[in-house]
C-alpha cells in the first residue's frame, strides 16, 4: 500500500503531461476559432482583398493561391513518392541503395523550410525563370514538392510494408506479372495508407510559409496563370499582421487554415482505422 501511495505522484504527473498537451492544443485552436469563425462569411471567402493600405476584404485570391501551389506540389510529389515507395518496398532487397534512399528522404524531411526556400528561390525563381515566370505559383509549388516528397514517401512505404507477403505470392503464383501483382493486389490493399501519406503531404504544403515567402511572390491579385505570383493563405496571415496589423483578416484566414488542418487530421485518422479493419476482413 505504501508503494502504491508513493506512485500516485509520478502517475499524476504523467496524466498531467497528457492532459497538458491536450489543453495546449485546445487553447490554441479555441483561441483561433473563437476569434476567426465570426470573421468567416461568404464574402470573406469569395470576396476581393481590401485596397492597398486598408484592412478587411476577402481572401478569395489567397485561397486560390494555396490551392494552386498545393496542387502543383502534389502533382509532382505524388507520383515520385508512390513510385519511389514501390521501388523501395517491391524492387529492392535490403541493399545499400535502399539505405541511401531512405537516409536521403529522412534528411530531406529534416531540412528547415527556409533552406528549401533559399534553394527554391535560386533554382526556380532565378535560374529557371523563363520556365517558371520567376516568383510564381509554379516556383512555389515545385519548392513545396521537395517538402511533400519525403513525407508521402515514408508513409507510402510503411503502407506497402503492411501488405502481407502471402498476397504477393498468391498473385505471382497465379501467373500475374510483378507489375500486375503490384497494381491489382498490393496497391489497392495499401491504398488507404498511401492516401494518408498524400494527405499528410497536402497538410504540409497548405501550412508551409517560409519556403513560400521566398518563392511564390506575394501578390494579392487573383492569379491568372500558374506563372503569376500569388499569396497563399499562410503568407497572407504573416503579411497582413506585419504590414497592417490587420488582425481581423489574420484571424479569419488562420481559422480557415486550422479547419483545413483539423479536417486533414480527422480524415487520415479515420482512413487509417478503416484500413486496419479492412486488412482484418471486417
Amino acid at each position: 500500500m505504501e508503494a502504491k501511495r508513493r506512485e500516485l505522484v509520478p502517475l499524476a504527473l504523467l496524466w498531467g503531461a497528457g492532459i497538458a498537451t491536450l489543453v495546449i492544443l485546445i487553447v490554441i485552436l479555441a483561441y483561433i476559432l473563437a476569434n476567426g469563425l465570426p470573421v468567416i462569411s461568404w464574402h470573406f471567402l469569395t470576396g476581393e482583398p481590401a485596397l492597398w493600405g486598408q484592412t478587411g476584404g476577402g481572401i478569395y485570391s489567397t485561397i486560390v493561391a494555396t490551392l494552386a501551389v498545393t496542387s502543383i506540389s502534389l502533382l509532382v510529389a505524388a507520383p515520385l513518392s508512390v513510385g519511389g515507395a514501390i521501388y523501395l518496398n517491391e524492387y529492392t532487397k535490403e541493399t545499400s541503395l535502399r539505405m541511401v534512399i531512405r537516409q536521403a528522404a529522412e534528411i530531406l524531411a529534416g531540412i528547415p523550410s527556409i533552406i528549401v526556400g533559399l534553394f527554391g528561390f535560386l533554382f526556380f525563381v532565378i535560374y529557371l525563370a523563363p520556365f517558371t515566370g520567376g516568383w510564381s505559383m509554379i516556383s512555389g509549388g515545385l519548392t513545396l514538392a521537395f517538402m511533400v516528397l519525403p513525407i508521402s514517401l515514408r508513409t507510402s512505404e510503411e503502407a506497402l510494408k503492411t501488405v502481407p507477403a502471402e498476397l504477393r505470392e498468391g498473385s505471382l503464383g497465379l501467373g500475374a506479372t510483378k507489375w500486375q501483382s503490384i497494381t491489382t493486389v498490393v496497391l489497392p490493399t495499401a491504398l488507404p495508407g498511401i492516401i494518408t501519406g498524400l494527405i499528410l503531404g497536402v497538410g504540409r504544403a497548405v501550412g508551409e510559409t517560409a519556403a513560400i515567402l521566398l518563392t511564390a511572390g506575394g501578390s494579392l491579385n487573383l492569379i491568372q496563370s500558374l506563372r503569376d505570383p500569388g499569396r497563399p493563405m499562410t503568407l497572407n496571415i504573416y503579411n497582413v499582421l506585419t504590414e497592417y496589423r490587420d488582425t481581423t483578416t489574420a484571424y479569419g484566414t488562420a481559422a480557415v487554415l486550422v479547419i483545413a488542418i483539423l479536417a486533414i487530421t480527422l480524415i487520415t485518422d479515420l482512413l487509417m482505422n478503416s484500413y486496419t479493419k479492412k486488412l482484418k476482413g471486417l
Partner: protein, 304 residues
C-alpha cells in the same frame, strides 16, 4: 463434380523480349522515382553551397565570431558578423527543448503505458493535429497572446527570448512525443513482463526498465526536436523581436538564423544575398550535426 480440362495448347515457356523490356522499363522508371529524394538533397546542397560558399570563404572565421552585422550589396563596405545571430538560434533552441523535453517525454510515457484506450484515441490525433498546425499560426498565436502577456507581466516589448521558448516548445512537442512513444512501445514485452513478474509496480517498471531500454529512441526524439526548433522560421520571426544583439535577459528580443534570412531575403542583393546563403550553410551544418547525432542515438537502439 465439374472438371476443368487443362488446356495448354501452344503456350510457350520461353520468355518474350517485349515482356522483358516492359518489366525493365517499369523498374527503371520506379528507380528514378526512388532516387528523386537523393537528387533533391544534392540539388539543394549544390545550389545553397554554390551561392554561399564563396562568400563564406571570403569572409572567413570572422563571419562566425564577429558581432557586427551591417550588410551591404558589396562585400568591402559591409560588416559581416553573425555571432549574435548564432547565439540567438542556440539560445532559443536550448530553452525550447528544456521546456519541451520533460513534457514531451512524460506525455509519450503516458501515451505508451498509462493512457486508457479511449484517452489514446483522442490524444494521438491531437498530437498529429499539433504537428499539422502551420507555423505561421503558432507565430500568430504567439504575437497576439504570448507577447502581450509577457509585456504585461514583465515589461519590455514582449517580443523576446521567452516568447520564442513558449511558442517553440509547443511546436517540437509532436516530434518528441511521437518518436518517444514509438521507441517505448518497441521495448520487447518480455522486459516489462519480467519486471512485473518479480513484483515491481507499474511505475517502477516504467522508470527502471522501459525508459532506460527506450532511452536511445527518446534521446533521438529530443535531438530531432532540437532540429525542428533551430530550423523553425515563421513563428520565431513573429515573436522573437529580430534584434541582432546578444540578449541580456530572457525578456530581451533576439534573432535567429532562420528569421534573419527570411527577413532580409526580401531586399538583399549582391554580397548581402550571398551572405544570407552563407547563413543558410551554417544552419544546414547545425541540422546535419543534429541529424547525425540522432542517427547515432537511434542506431544504438538495435543493440538489444
Amino acid at each position: 463434380m465439374i472438371s476443368i480440362k487443362p488446356n495448354r495448347a501452344g503456350r510457350s515457356l520461353r520468355r518474350s523480349a517485349t515482356q522483358d523490356i516492359k518489366g525493365r522499363a517499369i523498374e527503371l522508371l520506379l528507380l528514378l522515382c526512388g532516387i528523386s529524394s537523393v537528387c533533391a538533397i544534392f540539388l539543394i546542397i549544390i545550389f545553397i553551397f554554390a551561392e554561399g560558399l564563396p562568400f563564406l570563404i571570403q569572409a572567413g572565421p570572422n563571419f562566425l565570431i564577429s558581432s557586427v552585422w551591417q550588410p551591404t550589396d558589396n562585400f568591402a563596405d559591409g560588416l559581416w558578423g553573425i555571432f549574435p545571430i548564432i547565439i540567438g538560434s542556440l539560445l532559443v533552441t536550448v530553452g525550447a527543448v528544456a521546456i519541451g523535453m520533460p513534457l514531451g517525454v512524460a506525455c509519450a510515457i503516458f501515451l505508451a503505458e498509462i493512457a486508457p484506450a479511449p484517452v489514446r484515441r483522442i490524444l494521438v490525433p491531437s498530437v498529429n493535429a499539433l504537428a499539422g498546425v502551420p507555423s505561421v499560426v503558432y507565430g500568430f498565436f504567439g504575437l497576439l497572446v504570448v507577447v502581450p502577456w509577457i509585456r504585461g507581466q514583465f515589461g519590455g516589448f514582449g517580443t523576446s527570448v521567452l516568447a520564442s521558448w513558449l511558442i517553440l516548445f509547443i511546436m517540437i512537442l509532436p516530434t518528441i512525443i511521437s518518436i518517444s512513444t514509438d521507441s517505448i512501445r518497441a521495448v520487447p514485452k518480455e522486459f516489462k513482463e519480467g519486471s512485473l513478474a518479480i513484483g515491481a509496480t507499474h511505475w517502477q517498471t516504467i522508470r527502471s526498465v522501459l525508459v532506460p531500454a527506450a532511452s536511445s529512441g527518446i534521446i533521438a526524439s529530443v535531438i530531432l526536436g532540437m532540429g525542428r526548433a533551430i530550423g523553425e522560421t515563421m513563428a520565431v520571426l513573429m515573436v522573437a523581436g529580430n534584434s541582432i544583439t546578444i540578449p541580456n535577459s530572457i525578456f530581451a528580443p533576439t534573432s535567429t538564423l532562420t528569421a534573419q534570412i527570411a527577413l532580409e531575403m526580401g531586399y538583399a542583393t549582391g554580397a548581402h544575398r550571398e551572405a544570407l546563403f552563407a547563413m543558410g550553410i551554417v544552419l544546414f551544418a547545425f541540422i546535419m550535426i543534429l541529424t547525425g547525432l540522432a542517427n547515432l542515438a537511434s542506431r544504438r537502439r538495435i543493440a538489444y
